[in-house]
């Protein structure tokens, strides 16, 4: 039997909401028009996974460096090569647009993200990140203590978050209203733990949780945190307050697509401690753009020679360089270059990089699936004026498995009229099983799920929706399950290798700063070889 929209709503949001969800008829009950975004998954499966033999190349092109993948890592590598004076760099991308999961879109109303939507304001040691933001004109100056001041227009506008619970919105993510003395005691206890870790340094001065993670201390007591789940770590400290645990779960779902019970405690603590400069310091500002990290993509891609719609089949080292075999929009494509950066997930690299094929299987990464919806509204629903927090950047439903929605117009200060809401839904379970369960879910089914979720807080919102775009990221991002961060940590790259691998899955954390770091490292290794 074909599952109905209601079955999907029940599967993704729970049965009670599914039964409340109305059928067709009238503007209030209709499912708004919708479309699925091409995330490249089908193309990747057909061209790379299921292809029998690579095409035969007859004419070879030359390039100095080939970068495979125009996600953040690949674009960063190309950007760094450009900055170091390496010209003739070609970037090959499977999809029709650059950006990977940091893609974005735009309408007359606003630009909006398709995935990652913020970075944490860099700390002084993150010199490359500071250089990037400086190039973008995103740095206003330095304060009296010498600390960086990010452009006010990019520092996430207050109110940053609100959470919907039992009929009204509350400011912030942690639900303070109705908390008991014990809840508050535990929250304070948790903050003390974070403060302690934020201040922690090893003998060589490395922080326990640094951005990028490569700068973190490898000390045994820090690495031990990777061997327990974040939930178990909290249990061991008797931090069992429902409010605190909800926050911990939310943080893990939001950044990693996992529940706290499955997340490495190292990663869980990283989320809180890495963005705090010192004990007691306020977290570093959240830096965001209307289209989220796609603004970074736009900058990194400026001046890059990106060829889209290109499926790469083979990357091999040959005498004096590398050969890349691919299929482009015009047919087979071969490029000979001095070096290559393979900036694709490990499961793709294992198929396309010659030296990785047939070898001992690398430890399998764990990739989480995500659904992201962009809801185009012609106007905003009315808000309760009294006793409920006003619209924020990030609007979270406390009782939902979704992460809620981010308003694309919040940062620009456009508080009325048309807007785009980006709704996020991570699948904390097994990705393959999820994909199987969701077979048959098209744009309309997804849209019904999105509408039902939004209607928790905004009854009748669908009458204001012009259309909905859905992206299903089947292998959305690498996840830091227990043991993954240190246990799956790959050996450092051989800087002499002609083929450099750059991707967030080398860190087990799918964060901009990680992709950026790996892209830089790959580019710098190649610059060293070319010199």
């Amino acid at each position: 039997m074909t599952p109905t929209r209601r079955d999907f709503v029940a599967l993704l949001l729970g049965a009670p909401l599914a039964y409340a969800c109305r059928g067709g008829g009238g503007d209030r009950g209709r499912t708004p028009p919708s479309a699925l975004l091409d995330t490249g998954m089908t193309r990747g499966h057909t061209a790379v996974r299921d292809a029998a033999t690579p095409p035969v190349v007859t004419a070879w092109r030359q390039a100095r460096v080939v970068v495979i993948g125009a996600g953040i890592a690949g674009l960063t590598a190309a950007w760094e090569l450009r900055r170091q004076g390496v010209t003739d760099v070609v970037v090959l991308e499977l999809c029709d647009v650059a950006g990977g999961t940091a893609r974005g879109g735009a309408t007359d109303v606003t630009a909006y993200p398709w995935g990652a939507h913020y970075v944490v304001a860099p700390q002084p040691a993150q010199t490359d990140m500071i250089a990037l933001l400086g190039e973008m004109g995103a740095i206003e100056g330095h304060d009296a203590t010498g600390a960086l001041i990010i452009d006010e227009a990019l520092r996430c506008r207050e109110p940053e978050e609100r959470v919907f619970y039992r009929g009204r919105w509350y400011e912030g993510l942690y639900l303070d209203a109705g908390s008991t003395a014990e809840d508050r005691r535990q929250l304070a206890g948790f903050k003390r733990e974070i403060d302690q870790w934020a201040a922690w340094h090893d003998a060589s001065g490395a922080r326990a949780f640094a951005i990028p993670t490569r700068a973190s201390s490898p000390a045994p007591e820090v690495r031990a945190l990777d061997q327990v789940s974040f939930a178990a770590w909290l249990d061991a400290r008797k931090l069992t307050s429902e409010r605190l645990r909800w926050l911990a779960d939310y943080a893990c779902r939001d950044d990693y697509g996992l529940l706290a019970a499955d997340t490495s405690a190292w990663a869980g603590l990283f989320y809180f401690a890495a963005r705090q400069r010192a004990a007691g310091a306020a977290p570093q500002s959240v830096v965001t753009w209307p289209d989220g990290n796609h603004a970074l993509v736009r900058h990194l891609a400026t001046g890059a020679a990106i060829e889209t719609g290109v499926a790469v089949h083979d990357v091999r080292e040959v005498a004096g360089g590398v050969e890349v075999v691919a299929t482009g929009p015009q047919g087979p494509l071969g490029i000979r270059a001095a070096a290559a950066v393979v900036a694709v997930p490990g499961f793709v690299a294992d198929r396309i990089v010659e030296s990785r094929r047939g070898g001992p299987p690398a430890p399998k990464g764990d990739y989480g699936a995500w659904c992201v919806a962009n809801v185009h509204l012609r106007d905003r629903p009315r808000e309760r004026s009294r006793g409920s927090a006003p619209p924020a950047w990030d609007n979270v439903f406390r009782d939902s498995p979704s992460l809620g929605y981010v308003s694309a117009t919040h940062q620009a200060g456009r508080d009325r009229g048309a807007t785009v809401w980006t709704w996020y839904y991570p699948f904390p379970g097994d990705a393959a099983a999820t994909r199987k369960q969701l077979a048959g879910a098209g744009a309309a089914e997804w849209t019904e799920v999105v509408m039902t979720d939004l209607e928790r807080a905004h009854p009748g919102v669908r009458a204001l929706v012009e259309h909905v775009e859905i992206a299903f990221w089947g292998h959305g991002m690498i996840r830091p399950r227990v043991g993954a961060v240190w246990g799956r940590r790959p050996p450092d790259l051989d800087t002499a290798a002609r083929v450099q691998i750059a991707h967030t899955d080398r860190s087990s954390l799918a964060l901009f700063e990680e992709a950026f770091d790996h892209g830089l490292a790959a580019a710098r290794a190649i610059v060293g070889q070319l010199a």
Partner: protein
Amino acid sequence: MIRAGALYLNVFVVAICGLVYELLAGTLGSYLLGDSVTQFSLVIGLYLSAMGVGAWLSRRLDDTDLARRFLDVELAVAVVGGASAPVLFVCYGSVVHFQLVLLGFVGAIGILVGLELPLLMRLLEGQMTFKDLVSRVLTFDYIGALAAAIMFPLVLVPKLGLVRSSLAMGSANAVVALWGTWLLAPKLSAKGVLAVRIRAALVLAGMVVALVMADRFTSWAEDEMYADPIVFSDNTPYQRIVVTRGRAGFQLFLNGNLQFASADEYRYHEALVHPVMMAADAPPKKVLVLGGGDGLALREILEHPSVEQVTLVDLDPAMTGLSKRFPALAELNHHSFADPRVTVVNDDAMVWVADHPALWDAIVVDFPDPNTFALGKLYTKLFYKRVLARLAPGGAMVVQATSPLFARKSYWCIQDTIAAAGFSVHPYQVTVPSFGVWGYALAKRAPFTPPTHVPKLPLRYLNDDALVAMFQMPADMTHVDVEVNQLDNQALVRYYEREWRRWE
């Protein structure tokens, strides 16, 4: 036999309702159209003559089914009278010939009330002597009028507001009619009783529903909150606009905050506009107004002969539309929206300023106080930086900056934020009786001395002495240390909320 005693009570209630409708019409007419002598004369004259018409028409109704007709007339009074104030309220913003609608209601209610007494007297005919009948009916009728005259100003308007008073009277009419179906049962057919009861119940239900829905016009709390009766209100997508009218003129409120009182707004607006016009290096030709949808700052700006072009950016088309069309407001702002030099843009100032690169010789920033995050952004360093980028080299900007006395931190937060954005700032303040002590910030690109002379215009408040005095800050309003208001801390909204809470 009919229970006559109970019917007198009926007469009493009908009399109260009738006079209340008349008073409501007169009040609304004089509030909205001004000239209360004319309005009240017209309403009373028309009402009484319409009652005469009703009385005259009553003879055309023959005696068959008289009780049912009487009750139907009562229900008609309930519907027309009850709906009168809500309908007039809605029409006020949109109908050009408001007066015709108003007089139409007065005429209709008058005719129906005029029909009522003769019909009732005919129903009671034969139950008592004629002299007793006339004496009693008229006694209750006139006493009812007295009760209405006392209730209207003392209870109804202050407690219920105009819309609810009208609906409450409509409900009372309907209750009396429903009750009448029992009183007059002997004179009604069994089928007729049921039909009238159903109609009465429907009207009553309608009135009660409307009473509940009346919150759309004005909430209970609002009617109690405002000292004067609400004569106009509108929930726009952006804000709640309320106009009240009292003895001292009318007041405009946005989201419950007083924007001006017609009695003393000249102090506020002269102090807002003339210093910035005099502070610019040359007499300003191009002036930008951000906020100020009431058009009162425009009025002052347009007095300056140097002004060639004014653009006013206000979020809410309902607000600028009201200022243009609402007779009392348009008169007060000297029809400034009709001036060919004026262009109105309905957009968010934060976004508009970023998108429109023209330069301005004078910029008047007159937003409501920063009591929400949506307004708070219009007081951030980022916003002032954007405004600075639009200020001509010798130009000047003025910002309304809440009260330096009631909200001292908020006031200085605004001053310091403007300075942090790169302006040179001079704080100043003025006393506006309906606001209290009110503050502004006068700012330019480079350090400057505030103006010492007022323009040669017919001003009511400002003269050279008052101008110089405004820039002196008394001891209880001097600088306090505050954070700069930025997008990611919204410090001002938090100061403001804490400070004003003390005075509420």
